[in-house]
């Protein structure tokens, strides 16, 4: 014996929103945990090349970054358009690299020093000359583990 509702007399109960904060908090925590803040304010334009055989950099705390690329437009007057090196928040020269590496090393535990990696974020249109200079400088201070930062992707020839 089926019961039939006659007409739409019954009112739809209001949806309870009391669990909304919980949902939002869950999302919030997810983003708080997964977020990594931008490390530096880039003064140069860096468009890293694409590659397919890449490995993820593990242990971000052990990575120091060297950026190489053309100064952005607003700095072009002061620094020209030739590719420059940026360490932390400043423009730098090749000779500043040993100091930068030793400063980075001082912030780490002694045991972790051999595990430190230098990530080279270099614009794809940069000439190898400056990159080679940087690599030679890194060799001199025995920072031998490097990583050419790339995007994941398949290249077109």
């Amino acid at each position: 014996m089926g019961k039939f509702r006659d007409g739409g007399k019954k009112e739809v109960p209001a949806i309870s929103t009391s669990s909304l904060p919980d949902v939002v908090y869950m999302l919030l925590f997810f983003f708080m945990v997964s977020t990594t803040m931008k490390e530096v304010d880039l003064k140069i334009g860096v468009n890293v090349p694409m590659a397919s055989e890449i490995k993820k950099l593990e242990k971000k705390s052990l990575v120091s970054y060297i950026y190489i690329g053309k100064p952005k437009d607003k700095f072009a007057k002061a620094y020209g358009t030739e590719p420059r090196i940026q360490l932390n928040d400043q423009f730098a020269e090749v000779k500043d690299i040993p100091d930068y590496i030793s400063a980075e090393r001082q912030q780490r535990d002694e045991k972790e020093i051999p595990l430190m990696t230098t990530s080279l974020k270099v614009d794809e249109n940069t000439k190898m000359g400056i990159v080679t200079d940087v690599k030679q400088e890194l060799r001199k201070v025995s920072a031998l583990k490097i990583n050419y930062s790339t995007k994941k992707g398949v290249r077109r020839y």
Partner: protein, 192 residues
């Protein structure tokens, strides 16, 4: 006289949480850092640089990139799309070609005695080479090694190289060791 404390309204809780959520949404960068990892050679003092350590010519694949981003492999111009095939053939030397690297039998765990080729890939670039092409070449060479390792692992265990455990990976690494040597920088094409 204890007065009844009024309930703190919690209606705005969602709003504050939303505000923080939006802040983190905006400031977050999800991209993990990835790239091609390499180990630089130990620094050599200038007076000790000598070219006496002769490696037989058949064991070396010479890859040159000039300042106009042109590629030359073993004395012949080549397009980058062919580099991987050439490198694979060089590393593996499947038919024991006398012009390709010689092999020496080594004892490898899991494999027993296995002929390991004495290959070295020598990569030289000019100061005027673009970084983009340099990375592409590094990538192609890495792809050649990875494909060979994968093929061997498929043949032996029916699994991809990445899915093997550490010891199996090490065994395969011994058979196909990554040997990309970069020359001490020279300046071929004048300044810049």
């Amino acid at each position: 006289m204890a007065r009844k404390t009024p309930d703190i309204p919690s209606a705005s809780l969602a709003d504050t949480a939303f505000m923080m959520l939006i802040f983190f949404l905006v400031s977050t960068t999800m991209d993990t850092d990835a790239g091609i990892s390499r180990t630089l050679p130990q620094p050599v003092p200038k007076e000790e640089i000598n070219d006496d350590q002769k490696i037989k010519e058949r064991n070396v694949l010479i890859v040159l990139i000039n300042k106009n981003d042109q590629l030359m492999v073993e004395g012949e111009p080549m397009h980058i799309s062919e580099l991987k095939k050439k490198a694979k053939e060089f590393i593996e030397n499947p038919a024991d070609d006398p012009s390709l690297p010689e092999k020496s039998v080594k004892e490898i765990p899991f494999f027993g005695d296995y002929p390991v080729s004495k290959q070295v890939i020598s990569l030289q670039n000019d100061r005027g080479t673009s970084y983009g092409l340099y990375v592409q070449v590094q990538d192609e060479l890495a792809a050649a090694y990875n494909e060979l390792r994968n093929e061997l692992s498929q043949k032996k265990w029916g699994k991809r190289y990445d899915d093997l455990d550490k010891e199996q990976q090490d065994a395969i690494k011994k058979i196909y060791p990554l040997a990309i040597s970069e020359a001490e920088p020279k300046n071929y094409g004048g300044n810049k």
